[in-house]
Amino acid sequence: MSYHSFLLEPISCHSWNKDRTQIALCPNNHDVHIYKKDGTKWTKIHELKEHNGQVTGIDWAPESNRIVTCGTDRNAYVWSLKGEVWKPTLVILRINRAARCVSWSPKENKFAVGSGSRLISICYFEQENDWWVCKHIKKPIRSTVLSLDWHPNNVLLAAGSCDFKCRVFSAYIKEVEEKPGPTVWGSKMPFGEVLFESGPSGVGNRLAWTSHDSTVAIAEGGKTSTISSLSSETLPLLCVSFITENSLVAAGHDCYPVLFVYDGTKGSVTFGGKLDVPKQTSQRGISARERFQNLDRRATSSETTEQGLESLHKNSISQISVLEGGKSKCSTFCTTGMDGGMVTWDVKSLESALKDLKIV
């Protein structure tokens, strides 16, 4: 587990390149900074300045090495590396509110942008015009689309939005691809409270999301789609990602990642454990003076003087990304948050450090 503090501003969004040596992130302003890893240090190598509003989503396509960014200025740009410089290409999204999230499809021939204008723009490159064109998914979305994730078959898209529903759409564009085969997902599934991040599992049969009312839920597609949810005791979670077929890692306002285990046969989600550096409790006696001070300050004369948070991140975690192993067998993942820091977590060492943790 290594913690690196990039800056003092929150990191709005981040994305890694294919071999995980470079990270593109937005330091809560209009630019995107690309940092390169040198051993244990990170140096800034590029600054992508084109947006007029805060950059809300970044995605780096691993195979084609293109970065797509979207922002509150209602635009998206596709950046390609020409020599040593990243060159932007504007994509007209035809939205009248801010763009909120962006994601490349698995085959990288199209990307989806979720926005505050209650629609999803699916953009693809049209060869004859040499231009990125977009199609809109409007019905039946009633409010801002907050999170998007693609199914591995490159056609289905899961979207979570502020109208309390998580939906699965077909984003099939006939100019770009052949007809898809049948999948287990039939139609949309309405649920729950305001949603945050949804992430399909590696094989694409399961969809997980977290919502503002401190619950996490998993839906399994199929003839009889089942939804199981867990109301947690923690503060709301902001992001979630599958790390194996049955386990997911989520993080949020509690500043530490949490593991949840899904049991497909029972259809239940259970809390797996808190993933964080174990506390170093110092065994010093507490003096009478400190006891009275605690009583004065906090109305309890308890032993622990927790001046700050015990977790690695000092503020809410806003995004999780899988670094190695893909969604079906993740071995490292990374979290960034509002404290401007990034932590890379290693699954093996977490498993050995926290003894009763089991990642199935």
């Binding site: 209650r118 409007k138 009633r142 409010s143 109208d163 309390f164 409270e193 305001v194 503002h212 009312d213 401190s214 619950t215 109301s231 947690s232 005791e233 923690t234 503060l235 709301p236």
Partner: protein
């Protein structure tokens, strides 16, 4: 003329009201729960059977109705049960609830906080402490974000 002396009446206009795709909240009117039965609860309180009165009070919460009278009535009944509990009995009562029961109890506690009467706040604070120990911050977040209020 300077721009800032022109009329700024347009700022009072809510542009989203004119949008035909406006978000309209669709509550599904599920089964109308009428709230707990007052007479039955009164009987149980008089007999001293607080646990049963407590469980019955938390059954059939009027979460789906839009009728404020039903909600007020249910709230009054639940608060009567909560305030007649002895302090030592609160913890076992909370422990006997399941997760959604604890969430429901929290919702009633916060509604009770809104309208304090006599010394109801003191006992409600004790209920809150015990319910928080079981439900954690998540149950309070669910009170704040709940669409179906009790």
């Amino acid at each position: 003329m300077a721009k800032n002396t022109l009329s700024s009446r347009f700022r009072k206009l809510d542009i989203d009201e004119f949008d035909e795709n406006k978000f309209v909240d669709d509550h599904d009117e599920a089964v109308d729960n009428q709230g707990p039965d007052g007479a039955e609860i009164d009987n149980l309180i008089r007999q001293g059977d607080m646990m049963t009165a407590f469980h019955i009070a938390l059954r059939n919460p009027p979460v789906n109705t839009k009728n404020p009278a039903i909600k007020e009535r249910a709230l009054a009944i639940v608060l009567r049960v909560l305030t007649s509990f002895k302090s030592s009995d609160i913890e076992p009562a909370v422990k006997s609830l399941d997760r959604s029961g604890v969430d429901l109890l929290m919702k009633y506690i916060y509604r009770g906080f809104k309208k304090p009467s006599d010394n109801s706040s003191a006992i409600l604070l004790q209920w809150h402490e015990k319910a928080f120990a079981v439900g954690g911050l998540g149950s309070i977040v669910r009170v704040l974000t709940a669409r179906k209020t009790v």
